[in-house]
Amino acid sequence: MESYNDDKKTNGEDSLQFTILAFLQIFVGILVAVFGGIIILGNLTYGVMGAFGDVLPPETLGTYALQSVILLVLGLLLFKAGLAILELDSFAFSTSLYLNIFMLLISLTVGIIGLFFAMLSFVTILLLFTPSVKLYWYDAFKEDMVPRIKETRYSLHLVRKSPLVVLGIVLILGMVSLAFIAPVVAPYGPEERIWADAKDPPGSPSGGKNKTREIYDERNTNPVPRVIGGVDWQDPPPILIAEFTVYENETNPDLGPWIEYEIEFEELGDDNVSFYFAVYGLNLTTYQSMDESARAAHLYYETTRFGPRDVEEELFLYNATYTYVYVLWFSCDHKYSNWEIDIKFTILRHESFPDHIWGTDEIGGDIFSRILWGAQIDLRLSLTIVLVAVSVGTFIGAAAGYYGGKIDEIVMRVTDVFFAFPGLVLAMAIVMALGERSLDTISIALMVTWWPTYARLVRGQVLLEREKLYVEAARSVGASDMRILFSHIIPNTIQPLIVQATMDTGGVLLTAAGLSFIGFGPPAGAAEWGLMIAKGQMYLTSYPWMTVFPGVAILLTALGFNLVGDGIRDIMDPKLRRR
């Protein structure tokens, strides 16, 4: 991209990227707005149809209720930004940059289709930074940013000096990266269970599951009788001779390969059955070339059984790659029966499964793996909630602070009301009213609970900034309200917002875990920390590890967010800064 643009620098106006950027921006705006609108409509229909009770529209329409409003507004703003870019408005570029970064974050919370939106906004950001487009806005933007970058540098310097903030950052980054690499690192799946290992203490080896390879499997119901030598023979073949090989990957230093043979008879009545089973340490061609006495020297295993009895036995083989021959001879003297036979030979491959380093839960789920998977669920949940609450709160708070008057009064009274409810209690009531108990419901409830905090915060900041000279200047050159809000005021209020959001992420995590602890959470079996503690508490006396480890995970994650938030607040505090 770099080399392509060198000659375009002089007349950027008709550069290809520029046109693509403007139209992409308009297109994305329309797309996102439409998507948001569809979900809002979907939610409305969902609600209305739900009220009448009979037919429900597809589930997907009923989710992301709050995100959809944000997306609708965001789409409209993007569309406007796109139009402004076409008019070569130099501020539109930086606005578009902010909007796209925000869009990138928001769209990561709305599932698969969000990835598509995220990709689009990523492309837009890339386009913004191609040299021919950069020409229009980058210098002014950079100049604008210099004091802010300076401040940030100084803050980073302070951060480095504060051990607690560094500890917090390490904790957060650790947890986030654990969540990302969980699929690679976790020895077991999120809902994988090994019943044999239930309630194992930390550090115990897995009793293991067997991987199997079938050598022969035959099931015959009411086989057709054949007469051979005056005796009624039945399918399957009375004599079965075949070879099988134990492969390299089926050997195991600890346990070695086993063969399992299983013969079942059903509806046998009084009939007599006898069978003979043998395994020789030979391959088939050698076996057939030898006579009976020579073979006997290589006999590895032999058994004869009489009577109508099912057999199921396991037999240990050499722990090396080797070829065997097995012989099954089979007789049955009945004449008139209705029966079934089932013969099965399998090689059991005992794999060494990873140890349960933090023990297992009551039904054999590996605690360590489940905590890793839980990091994914819990972090995504709390980040989504905070992100959506911040955006809703910012929007409402900014509007209230900027326009003042009646809107402000109403918004503040509404936030007052919300502040009267402690987070967990209101969330409980909302989940209860919504009826369904799942992670989605929890996240909607907590988003509704949390936005007033940010609305208050942003409103206060906007009130401070509104009267400043630069806003007055922007207004006097005829900038629109939206422009002043989004490209001047909000970027200046972002710092306290980030601090508050960081601290709240820990709180949201705790509340969400608390909700799922009381029984509002995802269905039993999901790898969610609060739920794991809830399940583990019943076994607290005898198997404390089921409770201890998930709790430590919650504690460390929340501590990380609180350490960072607390530290940054101290660093940002103008009263404590630079004395």
Binding site: P163, L164, R413, V414, D416, V417, F418, F419, A420, F421, P422, G423, L424, V425, L426, M428, A429, I430, M432, A433, L434, G435, G506, G507, L510, T511, A513, G514, F517, I518, G519, F520, G530, I533, Q537, L540, T541, P544, T547, V548, P550, G551, I554, L555, A558, L559, F561, N562, L563, D566, K575, L576, R579
Partner: protein, 343 residues
Amino acid sequence: MKLRDFILRRIVLAIPVVFGVVTITWFLAYIVGDPVSMYITERTPDAAIPGIIESHGFNEPLPVQFFLYITNLLQGDWGTSTSTATDAPVLDIIAQRFPATIELALLSMIIAIILGIPLGIISATKKDKPVDHITRIFALAGVSMPIFWFGLMLKYILFFQFKAWGLPYLPSSNRYNIQLYDHVATTGFILIDSLLVGDIRLFFDALRHMAMPAFCLGYLVLAIITRMMRSSMLEVLKEDYITLAKSKGLTQRIVVYRHALRNALIPTVTVIGLAFGGLMTGAVLTETIFNWPGLGRWAVRSILQSDLAGINGFTLLVALIVVTSNLVVDLIYGTLDPRIRFG
């Protein structure tokens, strides 16, 4: 503004909040949920249901229903909770369980204040020293601790393990030893009741039972108070009058405890009041774990049994408590610091 005007103004300002709180609970229970279920139990005969719908006005238009809801609330009809052994009116259950929760909350608040304020002062006066770091981590751990997990761990160590090791252990459930003592509620606050009767052994037994849940609940508030105390102390210590006091040659001790403390306490008082909401949240989880017969456990049981009336009543009550405590804090604040009144 005179103090009287200030108080009146604050009380008038609280009225729309209460109205909003009622609106939200109404909205949640009547629009999103199914309101009829609040007045119907499994024992209600089918034939009576139309009558209940009629008498509670569920067939009326929504504004009328809202008006009826408020009337019912004011008349003390908060619905029937189905999550207790016998179906009982919500208000009766609240009256019966309220003392247990408030007693626990107050005790944990006392613990938090007694420990939190000195910790905050120490942390502020020794800023950026190891003591400060330790205190801050201790305080932040309190905010980051999942309270239900902390309760379980306390119970595991102080009850199960201490019992297993043969050490003196703390009891892990109930308000007092039901097998040994007979308690008839007069005020409902067991510590007061036992003193009224003069049963000192019951008093100490109840205190022993309260120790673990109260500490568990108090740790969160303790953390909040410590943090607030630290930062307000730091702020006050930078003021000019402190510099003056120091330059007069007063000792650090006198400067901190006589000059700074009084001013630093004002924001902390606010936080203590605001922490009441946090205590109510904590009570829900703590009471579940320590089997404490208070409001929180009732709320959780209502959730598990889908008892809409119970949840609605609990939410409303908690919100009213929070509004009241905020109002009280505002009034105290205004009385302590005249600048607020005129600002």
